[in-house]
Amino acid sequence: MIKRKHLSTGVLTVIGILILLFMYIPIIVVVLYAFNADSVNYFPMRGASFKWFAKMAADDDLIRSLEHSLVIAGISTGVACVLGVTGGYGMYRFDFPGKSFMNKLVMLPLILPGILTGVALLTFYQAVGIHQGMMAVILGHSTFLIATVLPQVYSRLQQLDGNIIEAAEDLGATSSQTFFHVVLPNIQTAIISSALLSFTLSMDEIPVTYFLNGIFSTLPIQIWGMTRNGITPEVNAISSLIFIISLAAILISNMLSKED
């Protein structure tokens, strides 16, 4: 009996490790071959170099698209935070008709395939005369990023002792004093971690951006274009860099959620 249990735990461990390998080998391969001396991804690797990082840094189009993406992600995350925090707080404070509908509506652009939000916004922009470009992309990103901020803020608020808001007012605080001195300090970790997630999602977004960017390129769109034309280790280099930054973001976000 005991033997059998050991056996099944052993089998389980082997399966678990194989699955983790399946999930990580592709990522490891991309990072490893960023240091490839060759331009062909050949096994085994024939030498190491930093030349693809250098080539990446010298690629003006790539750098420009990175700048675009940073601007878009920064502004969209900011907009999403303002909308998500005010909306989440409003939903927490007030009961109103359509509250559960709003709760579902907010989540839609994150659950629905991005292509739908992309084409819906495209036809809408065309109808109201918003041209494709950076503004169009920012509006689109903000819309689906609300879905990462609002529910997190709302659920954090629900975990709070609701009486602290009444207590603040009872002690003479105005609505805005209550919001800035009591509510905000108690949900700030939720805001920071959802902002980090929003930023990462925006930096990576293609389906919505694809329909709205026009001639102007974002980093993932640029990379997508480069991979379609063939394989270049430059892509490995830039991907690895983004991976490291994302990893830092997830660690920070995880530390923040641990704090509470």
Binding site: D161, I164, E166, A167, A173, H181
Partner: protein, 338 residues
């Protein structure tokens, strides 16, 4: 000192939630400096009444006066009333000192004044040693004191306390009851206290308001209410009571006699005057007393308390009697509690 001056006056308050009447025409005057308790079972409207005084609920009709001024259109943060919440509602991100400072900071009181006032309140509530701790690092009793200190620093005219001892264990609760009572006497602030614990209400209050189903059953001093309950509900909610009907005290129709168990006398032989035959069904020893449960011939039950030296046994046939001075005749009402 309790003065005759009326500090808080509730006049004909009515309130419904989703067509359900929660407060059904309540009028109540609270005197300056008194410790008044709103007592009743859950759902009797006591917390709602409190929330009308601090402004978190608005009455559908009627008015709330504080020092003669109508408060209905005054928001909670502008009322000179503070609340100790059941959950304490301490700000988790602030230290004890910062919690206590909060209201003064919000009202932009000068810094040196804040320090002075906060120190005084921390001293009074014995919290100086914990001033720099976060609420999560305090015990329940300490958190309780922070909640009170935070309210007292505002120097309110009235302090409202919503079941503030509900989360504490029995021993601590008893101790805090005394502390609260002393603090109230020392400050001279009017306390309005909500509880469903009748023992607590009797211990702590100057006056008790017994609420039931959104209306006032009885107002009075604890002792008075205990000895002279005005209704069957009050008699059975505050302590235990026996009810006798019929011709025992030459009652007119629809009236019953309420008698506390300690006043029910058991006799082996038929006494003069009132004498109701009954059989003992259960005897429980409670230290100095024994509790004797009885059943009458018509099936009605009764309870008596007697000293332990009397010998009573299950199955004994006895006569129940009492001194009519100790009993209370009450009107049997439609809303009685069985």
């Amino acid at each position: 000192m309790i003065e005759e001056r009326i500090q808080v006056s509730l006049q004909n308050i009515e309130k419904s939630f989703r067509n359900q009447k929660v407060i059904d025409g309540i009028s109540l005057d609270v005197r300056q400096g008194e410790f008044l308790t709103l007592l009743g079972p859950s759902g009797c409207g006591k917390t709602t009444l409190l929330r009308m005084i601090n402004g978190f609920e608005k009455p559908d009709s009627g008015s709330v006066l504080i020092d003669g001024e109508d408060q209905v259109s005054v928001p909670p943060n502008k009322r000179n009333v503070n609340t100790v919440f059941q959950s304490y509602a301490l700000f988790p991100h602030l230290t004890v000192r910062e919690n206590v400072e909060f209201s003064l900071k919000m009202k932009k009181v000068p810094e040196e004044k804040i320090v002075e006032k906060v120190n005084a309140v921390l001293e009074m509530t014995n919290l100086e040693a914990f001033a720099n701790r976060k609420p999560s690092k305090l015990s329940g009793g300490q958190q309780q004191r922070v909640a009170i200190a935070r309210s007292l620093v505002c120097e309110p005219k009235v302090l409202l306390l919503d079941e503030p001892l509900g989360a504490l264990d029995l021993k601590l609760r008893k101790q805090m009851q005394m502390e609260l009572k002393d603090m109230q006497k020392a400050s001279g602030i009017t306390y309005i206290y909500v509880t469903h614990d009748q023992e607590e209400a009797l211990t702590i209050s100057d006056r008790i308001v017994v609420l039931n189903g959104g209306h006032i059953e009885q107002i009075g001093e604890g002792n008075d209410i205990y000895l002279h309950p005005s209704s069957r509900f009050v008699a059975s909610f505050l302590g235990e009571s026996n009810f006798f009907s019929g011709d025992t005290e030459n009652l007119s129709d629809g009236r019953v006699v309420s008698l506390r168990p300690e006043f029910l006398i058991l006799k082996k032989d038929r006494p003069e005057g009132i004498a109701i035959p009954a059989r003992i069904t259960k005897v429980t020893y409670l230290g100095v007393y024994q509790r004797i449960e009885l059943v009458e011939q018509n099936g009605l039950k009764a309870v008596a308390l007697d000293s332990v030296d009397s010998e009573w046994h299950v199955g004994d046939n006895v006569f129940m009697t009492w001194d009519p001075d100790n009993s209370q005749v009450i009107q049997e009402e439609g809303d009685m509690v069985s």
